[in-house]
Chain length 259, copies 2
């Protein structure tokens, strides 16, 4: 089977090159050794769909953000856990505002990049591993579509329980998602149908990320409607208290720890 990637820290490799291009320092990806190349993240879906996306946004400054990111950051209060801290763009802005923020990621390269860029409090772990340590937070932010970490019906209860274990009374989750059902593209509507036929949520994407020679294992990432989110939250330690759809199909969901 030709063309199989090496399993590695795809996201860390990608971030390192985005940083090199943005900052103009270190070895940069070049075409034929001379023309600068944009850094492109490759996303494969298990039905054979492939998508290349410019990765520059991972290190976007606040003036380059989408409006919902600003509204999310405005809502963060108390001790904040930035889940999937990535290149640190959100954590750095929270720090600038004097908010106490901890950045969490499973990518060693992402944590290293955050440290280099000045994020002070960092954890290399899953939410489950971090919950076992025992710290507590007032706000959890899941931005950059990271509501997707709910994965689907199987994983969501454990994920929300882990955040419950990490939560102080009155804590909130502020999560950004996208409604996947606003498309008529048969490539996507057909995928949603096939997912449902297998007992999965329509937008429960099975993906693999690739960059240069590296690829992740296949994993589930959830793109769900606010209605589906409400179902997933039902029975968890959380209540869905607000869905901000001002930038539909993108939305910000607020979940509050049940009393």
């Amino acid at each position: 089977m030709p063309g199989e990637p090496r399993v590695g820290d795809v996201f860390g490799e990608l971030l390192r090159d985005v940083y090199a291009v943005r900052s103009g320092t270190g070895p940069r990806p070049l075409a034929g050794g001379r023309l600068p190349r944009p850094v492109i993240e490759v996303i494969e879906r298990d039905d054979g769909l492939i998508y290349g996306a410019p990765a520059d946004h991972y290190l976007a400054e606040p003036d380059e953000w989408q409006p919902y990111d600003h509204r999310a950051v405005d809502r963060a209060r108390g001790a904040v856990l930035d889940i999937g801290v990535g290149g640190g763009r959100i954590a750095l802005e929270l720090q600038r505002r004097g908010v106490a923020v901890t950045g969490l990621d499973v990518s060693a390269g992402a944590v290293e990049m955050c440290r280099r860029r000045g994020v002070r409090d960092l954890v290399l772990a899953t939410v489950d591993e971090h919950a076992a340590i025992g710290p507590r937070y007032d706000t959890f932010v899941l931005l950059g579509n990271n509501l997707g970490l709910l994965e689907g019906r199987d994983r969501a209860p454990a994920f929300l329980a882990a955040l419950g274990a990490l939560a102080r009374p009155g804590a909130e989750i502020i999560a950004q998602g996208s409604d996947p059902y606003r498309t008529t593209d048969p490539l996507h509507t057909g995928y949603h149908r096939a997912n449902r036929a297998r007992g999965r949520l329509g937008g429960q994407l099975r993906l693999r990320l690739r960059y240069r020679e590296f690829g992740t294992p296949w994993f589930d990432y959830l793109v769900c409607s606010p209605e589906e989110l409400a179902e997933l939250v039902h029975g968890s330690p959380w209540r869905l208290t607000d869905v901000d759809t001002a930038d539909a199909p993108y939305y910000l969901a607020t979940l509050r720890l049940a009393d």
Copy 2:
């Protein structure tokens, strides 16, 4: 095996979306139905390397071209065959200059795109198929790295013979290549070594192109040094008369039909 693409006209699909984005007409690729997405061509190499490249350049206007493309077009004379006409950027400029040009491509979508953009003379065929029909040309242009169509030692003699059969006396081939050996990236130098160990030329890339749900079969595409090109041309109906390296590592090779 999850993630396998459908075999289809990858290049035609890609061009259609590039055209839609450039012209602002027709269905355009959008993120979540709202934000515009750049069209990205995904290139897989058989060692697992993957590369996403913005595809906008396929429809670039002359003022966006690299300098060597202008020098190539300046050298075309008489009846010209544009091999791998793609989106027609070179053929359209030749037409504007009053040069008689025929565009050849194996992608039905590329030929359709050229027709839509105003290229008048088009052929959907390989060079071998076209040679069997019997037309004759004074200049063959192989731009956009299309020297790569030589593939390697196995294919080059037949490819050069087909162009010989299509050539009028004194005909020239103007082909753009890139020297692959100006890199120290171990990902590439290791690939070159592994290729040579299998009896292939170092830069004889085994590739597959992907866009959305479509992929090409795996094929060979040659990136070679001017010295390797000289070897491949030896014994063919052609003589290598000039290598213009003003934009190294990119170069323009001129081959002239032997008397």
